[in-house]
Amino acid sequence: MKFNLTGPFLAGLAKVVAGNSVRWVDCHPDTCQRVYFANHTSHIDAVIIWASLPKECRELTKPVAAKDYWDKGWFRRYLARSLNAMLIDRENIKVHRSPVESMLKEMGDKYSVIIFPEGSRNDGTTLREFKSGLFYLAKKRPDLELVPVYVDNMTRILPKGEYLPVPLLSRVIFGPPIWLENGEPKVDFLARARESVSRLRDV
């Protein structure tokens, strides 16, 4: 891994701004391959989750981001690179280049990813329905641990449409991993995954 100062700096900055506390509930930090899936309420969610992981896990974890947004201009590209982000093309989709395929290819047998199955940011009160990407990911790679993550209070720190953060205190809660059950239908699995995230709000 090449020398990178911006990443740790951004992680530190995000931690100061969001004053986050981290809790692992029935789950422990591990360098095994994982898919962290979280609720999405603010632009800095991915950075906060990434910064909440211990250093050795952080080096092996890539936040997944949309290529059409993060590949525009040198600054966004620079940010994406410092945060070790995985840019996924969601426009130019072909049969063998679906977002899930390219994600799995980049993950190889080493990296973990942070994804937001809601697709876009929610309004902070309820979780949106999950997109099916998580299901296909689990189906193709049943060995991956799917770790639900709940990010609390971020919507008040940097809500949708605002650019200046208010330094409130946030929480990042990692929950017990889930797996795709044998023959579990897509709808059931996605509902279960969504429930596993929203359940963490009350622990």
């Binding site: 506390s21 008040r156 208010v166 205190l169 929480r171």
Partner: protein, 348 residues
Amino acid sequence: MDLLHDSTSMIFTAPLLAQQTAFLLDGATGILLGVVISCLLIATGAGQILRRQPDSSVNPAIVQAFIRRVRAWWLMTAILAVTFMIPSPVATVILFFLISFWALREFITLTPTRLGDHRTLFWVFFILTPAQYVLVAMGQSQYELFSILIPVYGFLFIAARIAVAGDFKRFLERIAKIQAGLYICVYALSYAPALLYLKDWTDPEYSQRSTAGLLFYFLLIAQLSDLLQFVCSRLLGKNVIAPNINASRTWEGFFAGTGVTAVVGATLSLTGATPFNPWQSAVMSIVIAVMGAAGAMAMSAIKRDRGVQDYGTLVEGHAGVLDRIDAICFAAPVFFHLTRYYFTTLGS
């Protein structure tokens, strides 16, 4: 006549100038600090002895809580002592600014606000809070603006800014919550470092002393009264003041604790760190103890309403900054004003 006037003003300003450049920590404050450190040493020793006792004679959970408390006091004393070593009161002001900022963070985090409040909160955190502490650091010359900036202009601004944001739902409730947070965590607390800038003492002898002693005395009495009321409640308590708000605070503990605080305060005035004589110091200690208890009760009421044990539970599972400063917040403005009115020429 002029020459005489000049020379007397020289005499009176020279020590003041010297005080500006020297350490805030002078002899009298040093004695006070020494007393505190000796007490902490005794408390630490007592904690270690208690820890070695068999579990049957003392409750290990209480001993653990006691040891943790003592450690927190060591930390507070160390931070204050180091800050006083810096030869400018600005360092202390910055310390209190950081405490205010963090306390306000905890307060607003626990207070439900709506998306329409976002920009107002940005102003509250990054404009009003720093502005208040800049005014403190500008000293007595800015006393008027310092004492009205938040409760007059700030409060009007908050109401207007939320209205402009266009969300009318529970409008009055929302402005009141933000105003209360700003008032308690920032405005009231900022009176503590403002003590450092008090001058023109009616007692000319005290003019040569460092006001750091006054601030340290205030913080010490506030912490001590809280502890003594707790201990007296445990020993003598029968009638709980408000069981729904705080089950451990009793009338007996309140009166006995305040009484003991007054005696300790009178004794501490002998160090010369304050402009008070023993009975004045006893009265001041009573005022601090009463206001401190009032502050602790009021902040407990907010916590019960939000259904949390401590302001810190959201953060790390132990008490937050706000739990530590609630007594100081309520006592600081009253202590400041009483001192200013009765012990300096500015008040009369």
